[in-house]
């Protein structure tokens, strides 16, 4: 990666000083100022209700961003994350939608949906680690295949008659906290623990940092590369199931936007934390871009600029990160 983890780890000097702290956490400083200024301009921004709204809005983005972050940490990229999410949700919904009459228990259908995600993750992982195709190309090809395949069983019609027990998975609130947030937090926490405190996470980071050295050190490079894609597929499918049950309707392209969200979250996170603690970074990235969009809407910028805000955020983060690392 150009945002080299290795270099930064070496260059990091431990000397304290207001200047160094500012430089090291410049991006955070910037976003902190943003929160305070927006809060002053529009007091509604920093109310509990609005912050909970931001958390709800960022939940699915945070899930897919963290899944993407695991893949990116291992030196890959998964462009199919959005369509995998859509397919997992669609197949689970297809099996329980009253209109199609399969009437399979909801629990089983959800498992099948997750299984589809895991299966696609397995295929991607095998193609990347055994056949040694570049993961960007593998997932683009899978994007093609899934974009076709998802029309083959529903013929593009929407799933409108999902049972209530399925809708209860993601469509509710406890004490104002959305179910989406309640699902997201443990999964992100589990991913964080896996990446930071287990052997597996350490190996994934090492493979992403320097694959040749990892191989020399005797790490099962293929196995751990495989796992990153498997995990991403599984989590993508689950977020697809969540979005379907939250909206109460399943469409073929319901999760296509997840790819862009995952890009924004994971890339922003990588830049924010200099490629360390990627899962935490991706989570923060998702929170930050969602709050920017929320702030823009509260301040009356209008919905047309949502995408431009995402793009400007990545560009700004890249530039700030670059300036900071030049200063060092």
């Amino acid at each position: 990666m150009n945002i080299t983890r290795g270099d930064i780890a070496v260059n990091e000097d431990k000397s304290v000083g207001i200047r160094n702290v500012l430089l090291r956490y410049g991006v955070f400083f910037f976003f902190g100022v943003f929160y305070i200024i927006t809060g002053i301009l529009q007091p509604k921004f920093l109310t509990i209700a609005n912050l909970l709204d931001i958390l709800e809005a960022c939940s699915l983005a945070a899930l897919v961003s963290c899944a993407m972050a695991v893949v990116v940490a291992g030196g890959g990229v998964d462009v199919s994350i959005g369509v995998v999410a859509g397919l997992g949700g669609l197949i689970a919904g297809f099996l329980i939608d009253a209109q199609w009459g399969y009437e399979i228990p909801v629990f089983v259908a959800v498992l099948v949906g997750l299984g589809v995600g895991a299966a696609i993750g397995t295929v991607t992982g095998l193609l990347v680690s055994l056949v040694r195709i570049n993961s960007f190309i593998v997932t683009i090809a899978l994007l093609f295949i899934i974009k076709g395949f998802r029309y083959s069983f529903t013929r593009g019609s929407s799933l409108m008659m999902l049972p209530d027990s399925f809708l209860a998975i993601g469509g509710g609130r406890i004490y104002g906290i959305s179910y989406l947030t309640l699902w997201m937090i443990p999964i992100v926490a589990a991913l964080y623990i896996m990446m930071e405190f287990t052997k597996m996470g350490r190996y994934i980071y090492m493979i992403g940092g320097n694959i040749t050295a990892s191989k020399t050190a005797g790490i099962g490079v293929r196995l751990y590369t495989f796992w990153t894609f498997f995990i991403a597929g599984l989590i993508a499918a689950f977020s697809g199931i969540l979005v379907e049950s939250h909206r109460g309707v399943g469409t073929v392209d319901m999760a296509d936007g997840f790819l862009l969200d995952a890009f924004v979250g994971a890339l922003l996170g990588t830049i924010l934390l200099n490629g360390k603690q990627m899962v935490l970074g991706a989570f923060l990235g998702a929170v930050i871009f969602t709050s920017f969009i929320n702030a823009a809407q509260i301040l009356g910028v209008g919905p047309y600029w949502v995408y431009a805000i995402k793009g400007l955020l990545i560009l700004m983060a890249v530039l700030i990160n670059r300036l900071v690392s030049e200063e060092r």
Binding site: I133, S135, I140, L142, L143, V306, Y307, A308, G311
Partner: protein
């Protein structure tokens, strides 16, 4: 020894063989596939993807990647439709504005990547988002139709001397581009930068300048094909760039599997774009279900890239 030579041949021309076999299959079994009308059709259908691929392959040959077309094509398409229909621009000034906008996007990403060494993946993804946002801000999320402007619509729907204009544009662009790449120093230097940037710098090639130029050429192509895309469909639908994004990436990566050992090349990109359209066209003519088209395209892409990857010793990681 013989088997090694055979393996060499397969890895260089294997995907070209697949292209030829499948095209031959369609010629035999798809009614009216190989007639002149349909060949013109294929040319017209390829034009947008082909022109965009020429742009993308320039950047890929310089060793970088540019994903911004997902946004710029939609934005310039909306811009052209808006300028022509709402501001009353003439065709050529509107086209000029679109190409200039593309060049400007290319300049921004190229300058940031070449001068400051930022990752082209990150920069171009953010440019894509910015362009998508601009498109939506410009059109307010509405579809801008191009109507009652025969001069504009002629560019993409008309015929000169019995040949579709889009076909002429595509073929002319391919020929001019090919000449530039092979006959002019700048074209050769761009490839040298992609092969080995340090060696190119040592040899006195102006690396920063030429990399920026590569991105600007790509941007110009994206702007132009975005405008053509809007004209071809008589208007710009929101985020139309997203529908070009994936086929173009597929065509360029498929093209990289032929003629060279997994390196992006012009001829490959052109053949790749044509091949993806041929699959679409041929499968439609043989009455295969519409959703089989991307499935077949994806499977062929995986197969082609997989064969190239077999010689590799190590997992290939994504650098961004």
């Amino acid at each position: 020894m013989a088997s090694k030579r055979w393996a060499d041949f397969i890895s260089l021309y294997g995907s070209l063989l697949v292209v030829i076999i499948i095209t031959a299959f369609f010629c035999l079994f798809a009614r009216r596939f190989a007639c002149w009308d349909n060949i013109q059709n294929i040319m017209v259908q390829t034009a947008i993807i082909g022109l965009t691929s020429l742009g993308l392959v320039t950047v890929m040959m310089a060793g970088e990647i540019d994903l911004s077309m997902g946004g710029t094509i939609g934005f310039t398409g909306a811009l052209l439709a808006g300028l022509v229909m709402q501001q009353g621009y003439s065709l050529f000034s509107a086209l000029g504005v679109c190409i200039l906008v593309g060049l400007a996007f290319g300049f921004v990403s190229g300058w940031l990547v070449a001068r400051y060494g930022l990752s082209s993946f990150l920069v171009s993804v953010s440019i894509m988002f910015i362009a998508m946002g601009l498109e939506r801000a410009y059109t307010h999320g509405l579809t801008v139709w191009i109507r009652k402007r025969p001069d504009v619509l002629f560019l993409a729907q008309g015929k000169i001397a019995g040949l579709p204009v889009l076909m002429i544009i595509l073929l002319a662009a391919v020929v001019i581009y090919w000449l530039w790449q092979t006959q002019f120093n700048s074209g050769i230097y761009i490839r040298a930068i992609g092969e080995n940037i340090d060696a190119a710098r040592e040899a006195g090639i102006r690396v920063v300048f030429l990399k920026t130029v590569a991105f600007m050429i790509a941007g110009g192509f994206f702007g132009f094909s975005g405008a053509l895309n809007a004209i071809r469909t008589s208007g710009n639908v929101l985020y139309s760039g997203q529908h070009v994004w994936i086929p173009v990436l597929g065509a360029c990566f498929f093209g990289a599997t032929m003629f060279t050992r997994g390196k992006p090349n012009i001829l490959g990109a052109v053949v790749g774009s044509f091949f993806f359209t041929i699959i679409l066209n041929g499968l439609t003519l043989t009455h295969v279900a519409f959703y089989m088209v991307p499935i077949v395209q994806g499977l062929i892409l995986i197969g082609a890239v997989g064969v190239t990857a077999m010689r590799r010793k190590e997992i290939e990681q994504v650098k961004f």
